[in-house]
């Protein structure tokens, strides 16, 4: 543990507040005077009863107590102080002029801390007070440190609990106290974890989502990270919780919002596009040429708005990792022919001809056919838009090192070099001066790249000014029976990172959740191994168990992984944020591939 630096002690030997108790005035005054001379403050008591009462009311740091006093003698005062002062340590130094050690030994067994012979030697007293001052100073610093640790614990906004080996709560912070209550209003301290939270026991090292019962009896979805530790022979588990209810509520509202956006925006657009189309088709009689021209402006733009809605909805789902892909092995030639046919009428309207090169019948890739057609529709409509009237758009398919490459080539103005790097970014459009702003949504190519990446492919563009543009995307070749590796990650960035790291080694298939993983394994047979990022997949132990039933070799790879947790599950794990993680992951994968053969 790294402790916060404490403020330095004001003085290495602090001044003490000393209580001097003695029934004889002269010796009391002499001792009190000595104490004051040494720089300490002093209060005095002339009998045992007064000494007791001052010790409790005046909070001295130390007591100099004469053993021989009438009524309550020093032995009795020592016994009572030991019983009554329980909130701190009050050092008691007994004094006596009697010969021999017997009475001192008696006082020390009754609870006194030290003894001094009367008359008290100035240097001996100075040394003893310095010694006790240092010990008390150290003690105060430790108390301050403990108080500070407690304050930090209490100021953690998330509930933190520590339970013993029997599942009883020993420590909890304010957030935990605010969240939880023991049944029947009993104290949380010493309460049974299971009874107070509904969490199963034993928890052990864990990382994932759980359901926690709060003080009102409501069940809340929470993220739990727990670690076990030991102090001496005792073992403890510390649990840190984080409430996910708000996050889940936001997610649900977002989904609902998207569904209603889709409906509410499309309904008026349906009427607008429909009415404009009917007018243009002469459903209300022939229109003069200028009216048709204006009508065309309105129709084109309402269709653009409709595409924008589709794109925004697609993008939102892609980014949230909620767009399902039905991946299946498909011959690409047939899909390309279908894509060309589907976009033929659009090309015709622009006076552009589409040409599909004699395609390779053996080219087969694992794709979601609908999403593949969407990629092609985006690339073809782009190429058509930027083609001059009478232009050609060529679609070719060829084998490359990494798989099958589809190229869509136009003979338009090309993509300016300065813009090429941003071409696939969100809302990227070159400025209007270069003629590439053609009524698009600015999302098409961004979505296209995300779709291609989701199908384990890559996309780029080659272009020279004035010589058109070639958009090329490559999908890994599908060869039945060859080893493949399942990548499970909900986050798009994570998917792309893992693909970039691993695709040179083995064919990868990416899925967003266990449902997709299951249906893919059903279609393709079991993969050689699986690389899974547990983030956003619910309970990590359940995830691991399900994955292991599907795949013989599983490695957890993520940005925020708990090594203790992965170890407990008996799983290999790699923290991707750490240096050298890429090499470790590749090593693991090579080992897994070797073991699978």
């Amino acid at each position: 543990m790294v402790a916060l630096p404490l403020p330095p002690a004001a003085r290495s030997t602090p001044y003490l507040r000393v209580l001097v108790a003695d029934d004889i005035t002269e010796s009391r005054d002499a001792l009190a005077g000595l104490v004051r001379e040494l720089g300490h403050t002093c209060i005095t008591a002339s009998n045992g009863a007064e000494a007791l009462s001052l010790a409790l009311s005046e909070h001295p740091d130390l007591v100099l107590l004469d053993l021989l006093m009438p009524d309550l003698d020093g032995f009795e005062v020592t016994r009572r102080l030991a019983r009554q002062v329980t909130d701190r340590w009050l050092p008691i130094l007994v004094t006596s002029g009697l010969q021999g050690d017997a009475h001192f030994i008696e006082a020390l067994t009754q609870g006194a801390d030290d003894c001094l012979v009367r008359p008290v030697d100035r240097f001996l007293l100075e040394a003893k007070l310095r010694h006790y001052g240092r010990v008390l100073g150290l003690q105060a610093r430790l108390a301050m440190l403990a108080e500070r640790q407690q304050a930090i614990h209490d100021h953690i906004a998330d509930p933190v609990l520590t339970v013993d080996a029997a599942g009883r709560i020993c420590e909890f912070n304010l957030a935990a106290a605010a969240l939880l209550a023991a049944p029947d209003g009993a104290s949380l301290a010493g309460g049974d974890l299971q009874a107070c939270t509904g969490l199963p026991w034993p928890v052990g090292p864990f990382q994932g989502e759980v359901a926690v019962r709060d003080r009102h009896g409501r069940t809340r979805p929470m993220a739990l990270a727990s670690r076990s530790w030991a102090q001496g022979a005792q073992s403890f588990t510390t649990l840190a919780l984080h409430d996910l209810s708000q996050q889940q509520e936001v997610g649900r509202m977002k989904d609902e919002f998207l569904a209603s956006v889709s409906h509410e925006l499309r309904t008026p657009l349906t009427s607008i596009i429909g009415a404009l189309g009917l007018l243009g088709a002469g459903a209300a009689g022939a229109l003069p040429a200028p009216a048709l021209q204006l009508l065309d402006v309105a129709r084109r733009n309402s269709e653009r708005l409709s595409r924008l809605i589709d794109d925004v909805l697609d993008l939102t789902k892609l980014e949230a990792g909620s767009l399902r892909f039905a991946m299946q092995p498909r011959p690409l030639a047939a899909l390309l022919a279908e894509a060309v046919e589907a976009n033929a009428s659009y090309a015709e309207r622009h006076g552009v001809s589409l040409h599909l090169q004699e395609a390779l019948p053996q080219a087969c890739a694992l794709v979601d056919p609908d999403r593949f057609l969407q990629v092609m529709a985006n690339l073809l409509s782009n190429a058509i838009k930027f083609s001059p009237a009478g232009g050609r758009v060529e679609v070719t398919l060829q084998g490359v090192r990494d798989g099958w490459q589809v190229t869509v080539r136009d003979h338009g103005p090309g993509v300016p070099e300065a813009f090429r790097a941003r071409l696939f970014d969100k809302f990227a459009q070159a400025d209007s001066s270069d003629g590439r702003r053609q009524g698009g949504t600015g999302l098409g190519l961004h979505i296209t790249r995300m779709l291609v990446q989701r199908m384990a492919g890559t996309i780029d563009v080659v272009s020279a000014p004035g010589q058109g543009a070639s958009f090329r995307f490559t999908l890994p070749a599908h060869a039945g029976g060859k080893p493949w590796v399942l990548v499970l990650a909900r986050d798009h960035q994570q998917q792309v990172r893992l693909q970039q790291w691993l695709q040179s080694l083995v064919r990868l298939e990416t899925v967003i959740d266990l449902d997709e993983a299951r249906s893919l394994v059903e279609r393709l047979g079991p993969p050689a191994a699986a690389v899974a990022d547990p983030r956003g997949q619910g309970r990590a132990d359940a995830l691991a168990a399900t994955l292991r039933a599907l795949v013989p070799r599983v490695v957890l790879a993520g940005d925020s992984l708990d090594p203790g947790f992965a170890q407990q599950l008996g799983l290999a794990w790699i923290a991707l944020a750490e240096e050298g993680s890429r090499e470790r992951l590749l090593d693991w994968l090579r080992g897994a591939l070797a073991a699978s053969q």
């Binding site: 499309r266 008026p268 429909g274 009415a275 189309g277 009917l278 459903a283 609908d370």
Partner: protein
């Protein structure tokens, strides 16, 4: 359903009045069909026996009876024997569309549809009893 028979009578169930107007111009004006426009599921149930549609275009999200609920009720009517029902929907996600087909619709037309080609499009559903893409 024999192809000798001509598709003449089309019932459209759609809560949005403007889309009803577009449907009337498209199917009635351009397509030359006899069109029965209904503003909700209940009106469709009330008029189906008298109108005897050969094909029904049915909006999915409507107040009162939803499209799928309306379809369920329509299916109990003898005049609906063998009559294809096509959903009209603003939903575009594949999962949602597949779910809709499970209600026993002949096909789905996604909004915004092209009113110029709609008369021809619905004829394909009528001839095959099931969508061209399905």
């Amino acid at each position: 359903m024999t192809s000798m028979q001509e598709l003449r009578r089309v019932m459209c169930v759609e809560d949005d009045p403007d889309i009803r107007t577009v449907l009337e111009f498209s199917l009635g004006g351009l397509g030359g069909y006899e069109v029965c426009l209904c503003a909700d599921g209940q009106e469709a149930l009330d008029r189906v026996a008298a109108f005897r549609p050969q094909l029904v275009l049915l909006d999915v999200m409507m107040p009162g009876l939803s499209g799928p609920q309306t379809l369920e009720h329509l299916r109990t009517r003898p005049v609906m024997q063998g009559v294809p029902v096509v959903f009209l929907t603003a939903k575009a996600m594949r999962d949602e569309l597949e779910e809709l087909l499970q209600y026993g619709a002949a096909g789905i037309i996604v909004k915004a549809f092209d009113p110029v080609s709609l008369p021809k499009d619905i004829r394909i559903y009528w001839e095959h009893g099931r969508g061209p893409a399905a």
